[in-house]
Amino acid sequence: MSWCGQVLYSGTAKGTVLRLEAPISFWGGISPDNAEVVLENHPQRGLKITDKILIVPDPIGSSSSAAILLELLYAKIAPKGLILGTNKDAILPISVLVAEQMGWNTIPIIAMENPTFKSGEELEIKTDGTIHSI
């Protein structure tokens, strides 16, 4: 199977899906120290997002979330790729632009409406925004 999303930041990635099951703000929701979900009452509290293809159907909340993602990229504990349910704001993608300016690791970011990928699936993201199950 393959799907096509909108490329917000181009790149390639291959990995296991982690789908955030409840809306989350990276700031306040993800620890910049160890990439763990720390939001109280979040169903996935305690899971790490490092090296996953992270599906964020509803990015919400703080505009400091960009700083958290940049810190994850800088510390090399970021997800391998991001698939967002919206392209309306640049809060998460901007971190990758900054990482590029600084010569740090970058990751692909794809936007698509209602991404249906489930945790545990294996996916590959290609530079043109196509997503393939493997």
Binding site: L8, Y9, P23, S25, W27, G28, G29, P32, V38, L39, E40, N41, D58, P59, I60, G61, S62, S63, S64, S65, A66, A67, I68, L70, E71, L73, Y74, A75, T86, N87, K88, D89, A90, I91, L92, P93, I94, S95, L97, V98, A99, Q101, M102, W104
Partner: protein, 419 residues
């Protein structure tokens, strides 16, 4: 396709612009391409979220910009930092982190930002007029600028905010454009009892409901038939921007772009109409508390967004000058603190047991003692972020309940209509 003006192309190519200016503009341009904007728009002010320390990466980026000659081209205010400059011993960060947090704040000053260190720049005179194009970060400030002031900004995250300030431009998309400011959904509160709408806690609770229902959509709220104070609207915006990605709420008859219903929807029908009932409101009220214990509390935290002068006056008045048994942290900005000192309110509050936190707040940087406890608050934003950031579990209640609880040393709640 994004089209740039000759001036913009010249900045990207010319040797006349500093490297820092070029980097900033190229980030804005790439963001614009990413967002599908057709052009950039000149802005008149910026509010920077990126001066709060979250890790070394942000410091290195901002220092790099500053070192390369980046300067803000428009009046630019700064959000809270991780340090309290006035009482420097409050933030419990390691000396390395303190130093990095300081370097981040210095980098912003070096780029020509006004050191305001507040999440409520609208309280200290940064008040763009209706229709003005600005680039603001900090989710509550964004929602306030769009909703209450009628200015136009998207939800700028860290780094894009300073890139916009330095280039004096923002990608022209989203809430900068007329058509995207029309509401998509209508939330009607007409059927809620009038006494509920008069509660101190009505606005933050309604904000929490709005955030969950609206997500990132522009929504309109009808059925509030009274004057709302700026502090109440501040509480609503902050709550909505915590539970959702809300950038703009039109409150019919109250906010500047919401003179009437057809206007707000661009003369189209709402895509969705939802009636807010008491069950939804009660659910949202109780969700703001994350502990069932109605016992001892460790502190009260007020001021997210930063406590205003009128809120401090109300705190003094309602407390009837009876001492607090637990610390009451009042988070505010240096401008407000100065005014409180001039009006002799600051020392009176300190004598009661208020601990002022200036330039920052208790949820963005480690200030609270120990690794956790119970915090009582009237702020939906504190209630939302406290446990994850500080380990303190929140109990949400009105300002009067917070004061009474501080005076008793244990949670004392008058649930009123929320029972």
């Amino acid at each position: 396709m994004l089209e740039l003006t000759e001036e913009e192309k010249a900045i990207l190519n010319s040797e006349l612009a500093t490297t820092g200016d070029k980097t900033a503009l190229s980030i804005v341009v790439k963001a614009a391409e990413m967002l599908g904007a057709k052009r950039l728009v000149k802005i008149t002010s910026s509010h920077i979220d990126g001066c709060l320390y979250h890790g070394d990466s942000g410091v290195l980026f901002c220092e790099n910009l500053a070192k390369n000659g980046a300067k803000a081209k428009v009046p630019t205010t700064t959000n809270v930092g991780a340090l309290n400059f006035i009482k420097t011993n409050q933030a419990k960060l390691s000396s390395e982190k303190l130093q990095m947090a300081q370097r981040l704040m210095d980098a912003h000053i070096n780029m020509g930002c006004t050191p305001s260190w507040t999440c409520a720049p609208y309280q200290i005179g940064a008040r763009p007029k209706k229709g003005e194009q600005v680039a603001w970060g900090e989710s509550n400030a964004v929602a306030f600028a769009n909703t209450v002031l009628g200015a136009r900004t998207n939800r700028y995250g860290d780094f894009l905010d300073i890139a916009c300030a330095v280039s004096g431009r923002a990608p022209y998309y989203g809430l900068h454009c007329d058509k995207n400011r029309n509401a998509e959904i209508l939330l009607d509160v007409t059927d809620l009892p009038e006494n509920v709408k008069g509660e101190d806690t009505f606005f933050p609770v309604l904000g929490s409901v709005i955030g969950r229902l609206a997500g990132d959509r522009v929504c309109a709220v009808s059925g509030i038939n009274k004057i709302a104070s700026e502090d109440q609207l501040k509480a609503l915006c902050a709550a909505a921007a915590s539970t959702g990605a809300v950038g703009l709420v039109h409150i019919i008859g109250i906010t500047p772009e919401a003179t009437n219903l057809p206007n707000v929807f661009g003369n189209e029908r709402p895509k969705e109409i939802l009636s807010i009932d008491m069950d939804m409101m009660k659910g949202a009220f109780h969700k703001l508390s994350q502990t069932k214990q109605a016992g001892k509390i460790d502190c009260v935290a007020l001021g997210s967004p930063h406590f205003s002068i009128s809120e401090c006056k109300k705190l003094l008045e309602v407390s009837e000058e009876k001492d607090f048994k637990v610390p009451v942290y009042v988070c505010t900005n240096r401008h407000t603190a100065q005014e409180l000192k001039a009006q002799n309110i600051y020392s009176k509050l300190e004598r009661l047991g208020v601990v002022f936190i200036i330039d920052t707040c208790v949820v963005v940087t480690p200030i609270l003692p120990g690794s956790g406890g119970i915090m009582m608050t009237n702020s939906a934003k504190f209630a939302h972020y406290s446990a994850g950031n500080t380990g303190y579990r929140p109990i949400f209640g009105s300002l009067a309940d917070c004061i009474k609880s501080a005076q008793n040393g244990y949670a004392t709640l008058n649930y009123g209509p929320w029972k």
